[in-house]
């Protein structure tokens, strides 16, 4: 692990991220814009899957997912900027690993929905009750994404990242 950290720190791109004073704040701002859009879209979808907001047609709401994926892409890039700039802050930081694990759970959960439940669920009409499995997927998604946000916020307080 320490060898990987040292290797990353020695790369030109890592040096640039550390030395250009505007890159870090810019990446942070992008990360926050991305998290707002991502959680807004996915959060509303999760609420709908959990059975709230029953009048919103779920299939139509799902058309916003490409925007959530775009926001996620933005956060992968800005997040990678932090990671490459200061890998030593994250490699041994328990909060970062918990964030990564939460992200994996959110991703796997979304994949289960898209593969196994999307076709049937997205065609549902207004007033049709959500199956229990779909409600669980919505609840797990919301918990997992809030956990991603929580551990991300805890990076400076539990570990010592900034």
């Amino acid at each position: 692990m320490n060898a990987v950290v040292a290797w990353i720190q020695a790369t030109a791109v890592s040096r640039t991220i550390v030395e250009q004073p505007w890159i870090w704040p810019a990446a942070e701002t992008a990360h926050f814009l991305g998290l707002a859009l991502l959680l807004g879209i996915i959060g509303l979808l999760d609420l709908r899957l959990m059975g709230f907001l029953p009048r919103i047609p779920i299939g139509a709401l799902h058309e916003l997912v490409p925007f959530a994926l775009g926001a996620f892409g933005l956060n992968v890039v800005s997040g990678a900027t932090f990671l490459v700039g200061h890998p030593e802050q994250y490699a041994h930081n328990i909060a970062w690993w918990l964030k990564a694990a939460s992200l994996a759970l959110a991703g796997a959960n979304a994949l289960v929905f898209e593969r196994l439940f999307a076709r049937r669920t997205l065609g549902m009409r207004e007033g049709e009750p959500m199956p229990a499995a779909v409600r669980w997927i919505g609840a797990i998604s919301m918990a997992a994404w809030l956990s991603v946000l929580y551990w991300g916020r805890m990076l400076p307080f539990i570990g010592d990242a900034f």
Partner: protein, 159 residues
């Protein structure tokens, strides 16, 4: 006079607790809740704005009315947590010009959200309907203002 007031605010029990308590429930949790509120306010507003701009057109506008209640709760959460974060470092933060820029952007963003709600409430209710050029302008302004407010908030840590 103002300096005295700010020093007094900073010295209150709740401000001291927010700033100095080693508990994860103090500063870290207040900051986390502020981020959750930000995601609710800006993220849900963005969904409404995107719909007004013609994305996910099959969502009937009227069904989005509950979104404004979510936005209101998110805003309340951030008014409370924001106030806590502000009084915890009142002297320093009240001297930052970017704070006032952020507050102005929030006021304008909120104005757009209220206007968007009016457009949806009194606009056409048929599914797939777009509203009006006026609604598109409001939606675009809302997206830009909220994004700018987040940027100003982030910059408070640097300027």
């Amino acid at each position: 006079m103002l300096a005295d007031l700010l020093a007094w605010l900073e010295g209150t029990r709740v401000a001291t607790w927010t700033r100095e308590s080693p508990s994860l429930w103090a500063y870290p949790t207040v900051l986390t809740l502020h981020t959750v509120g930000l995601a609710i306010v800006v993220g849900v507003s963005a969904v409404v704005d995107l719909r007004l701009l013609g994305v996910a057109r099959r969502v009937p506008l009227a069904t989005l009315m509950p979104a404004f209640r979510l936005i209101a709760w998110g805003f309340l959460l951030n008014a409370v947590t924001g106030l806590l974060l502000l009084i915890a470092d009142a002297t320093m933060k009240m001297r930052q010009p970017v704070l006032y820029v952020k507050l102005a952007l929030i006021a304008l963003g909120l104005r757009c959200t209220v206007l968007a709600r009016k457009e949806i409430r009194y606009g056409p209710v048929a599914p797939t309907s777009t509203v009006s050029p006026r609604a598109s302008v409001i939606a675009m302004a809302s997206l830009l203002l909220w994004a700018a407010a987040i940027t100003a908030g982030r910059l408070m840590a640097y300027l």
